[in-house]
């Protein structure tokens, strides 16, 4: 076992912080689940009595999306804070030098730090996996969607942790590293949407003359783990039983990304009958009433690699680059001291 990881696990589990974070995290997600359940069932029961099968499926899908959405938010919120002290904290506590003069290789130090952060992340995800699985028990969501969603959460956490470890090695002070890591996370999650929206406005103005509404290049969204997750859970579940409630978060994301989503609703209704084909263009998923439906671009019948694969590849590249930079920063002898 990596000595740095072993030490970190011992240190982290000894303090009260870990159990506190876990408790808060679980409480929040359980609360979200309860709210969604209460809102959906309460609403329907008041009007129609017992839920119809499709309504149950819709409830399951709604719970799934909301719990997943908040899992994402919590991971994006927690990981930079948990990881930003990885290297800079050792510098600040003057413990990095004794570590650098051991026989540990710089990459072992960096990987140990990353794994310590990821281990805690896995604990969080494992603890909340049952919450996500409730939606599977209710219906409307396939097991593959649940697994894909958990995979996307873990991948997002690992990628964010890697980028944060990089920040922690590049910036001398933990405070700076924390701010930078959160800034990057914010750019990934909100900045990409903003860029996409701005590009969308520009695009619609440019193409108005031809009377064709086109969407901006989805490359703008490649850095966004939420879109990645949306694409993954949309494309991996081929049997939708119900539609998500109209206010489900991924639906909202897609409406934001694709203002013309209503045009696809009828197409979605048609697709709903049979298995939904994976979008050949690999673009970000659209959500029609039939759940996540990959829009068919008539002018782009076989667009190549799926969006989530391209997104994951780009994010992984960034993560690896970040770890390489961190390793360089930890390596000694260096040009400047400590």
């Amino acid at each position: 076992m990596n000595p740095v990881l072993a030490r970190e696990l011992r240190e982290r589990t000894r303090g009260r912080r870990a159990s506190l974070i876990l408790t808060v995290y679980l409480t929040l997600l359980s609360g979200i689940l309860y709210l969604v359940y209460y809102a959906d069932t309460g609403e329907s029961a008041a009007m129609n009595g017992p839920l119809a099968a499709t309504e149950v499926a819709s409830l399951g899908r709604g719970i799934f999306e909301w719990v997943l959405f908040f899992m994402f938010l919590l991971v994006i919120f927690l990981v930079p804070g948990m990881t930003s002290g990885a290297i800079s904290g050792e510098r600040e506590r003057q413990t990095l030098v004794p570590l650098q003069i051991t026989l540990l290789r710089p990459r072992s130090i960096v990987i140990g730090k990353l794994l310590a952060s990821v281990a805690f992340l896995l604990l969080l995800v494992a603890a909340t996996a049952p919450l996500l699985s409730i939606s599977y028990l209710i219906g409307g969501v396939t097991m593959s969607s649940v697994l894909a969603a958990l995979g996307a959460v873990v991948a997002t956490g690992v990628i964010l942790a890697s980028i944060t470890v990089g920040c922690s090695a590049v910036f001398r002070r933990t405070q700076t590293a924390t701010v930078m890591a959160y800034a990057i996370a914010l750019i990934m999650v909100l900045g990409t949407f903003l860029a996409y929206a701005v590009a969308g406005v520009a695009e619609s103005q440019r193409q108005n003359d031809f009377g064709i509404e086109d969407r901006p290049p989805d490359e703008l969204l490649l850095l966004n783990p939420l879109v990645l997750a949306g694409d993954l859970i949309g494309s991996s579940s081929s049997d939708f039983f119900g539609s998500a409630s109209s206010s489900s978060p991924f639906d909202a994301i897609h409406q934001m990304v694709h203002p013309q989503v209503f045009e696809f609703q009828e197409i979605g209704a048609v697709d709903f009958v049979g298995p939904v084909p994976i979008g050949p263009d690999g673009g970000p998923v659209f959500e029609g009433p039939g759940g996540f439906v990959e829009p068919q671009q008539p002018d782009d019948p076989d667009g190549g690699i799926a969006f989530w694969i391209r997104s994951l590849a780009l994010l992984s590249f960034l993560a690896v680059t970040s770890l390489v930079v961190a390793t360089r920063k930890v390596r000694t002898p260096a040009r400047t001291e400590r």
Binding site: A6, R7, Q100, T332, R335
Partner: protein, 308 residues
Amino acid sequence: MSAPEEQSGSVATAPEPSEPASAIVVRGLTKRYGDLYAVQDLSLRVPKGSIYGLVGPNGAGKTTTFSVLATLLLPTAGTVEVAGFDPVQSPRDVRARMGFMPDILGVYDNLRVDEYLRFFASAHGIARRSIDPLIGDLLDLVDLSTKREAMVDSLSRGMKQRLSLARALVHDPEVLILDEPASGLDPRARVELRALLQELRSLGKTIVVSSHILSELEEICTEIAILEAGRLLVEGPPAEILRSLAGERTVAVHLMDGTVETYTVASEEEQVELLARLVAERRPILEFRSTGRSLEDVFMKVTKGIVQ
């Protein structure tokens, strides 16, 4: 009667070429940060089995020199050899043979003394089964056996210093480099540290220590180098330095009427002659005392005025 003392320049001994009996050889080491020279053309030779003291005021370049020796810092120019290996070319070979204790003690929260040592032992690739007896031995050596299960955070400064020393010894290094090991220690802890260093030397280790207080090192070091402003001023055994630099000494003569006369003599013989002459002159001598003999005075003389 008396002439104010003038120090006649620095006496830098020329470094010997690398000999097999050297634990550390430094040749022409220079470290520059922009326009600032932290270390300038420094050459040293640390004999195997010695306790070597690096003395100088703050900013003299001691820590920078140690950082290069400890495989942490790249030199601007010059070559260094620690236990036969170049810290720049083969840092891992040096790390396997060198223990380093930085001037600031980094301590992990939430870790016990034995866990702290276990961590560094495993970071040095020491086999799991030999770690436990090793920790016992190390804690015995630095007299912390009773603190084995205490939290590192709760230790006193002297104890942390000793734990840090145990940490530096975890892989049984040939060469031990200690940056300001006595700083912040109470007198008792200093005496204990001194005894500990002697014990380590008897185990065959070469020890390099730094201090800005010469008297801390005077008694334990077999060799001393005095640094200032990144340059070597003197190097050699304390007694030798004393002889070469303190040949000229001041004698204060207290007379019965309360006046004090000071004389400067060039050697012990001259001092004897001076006393004989004064006695022959029937001067009312109450006290005849030579000053300027301790290494501290040499150090004060040698380092005067170059660094503020």
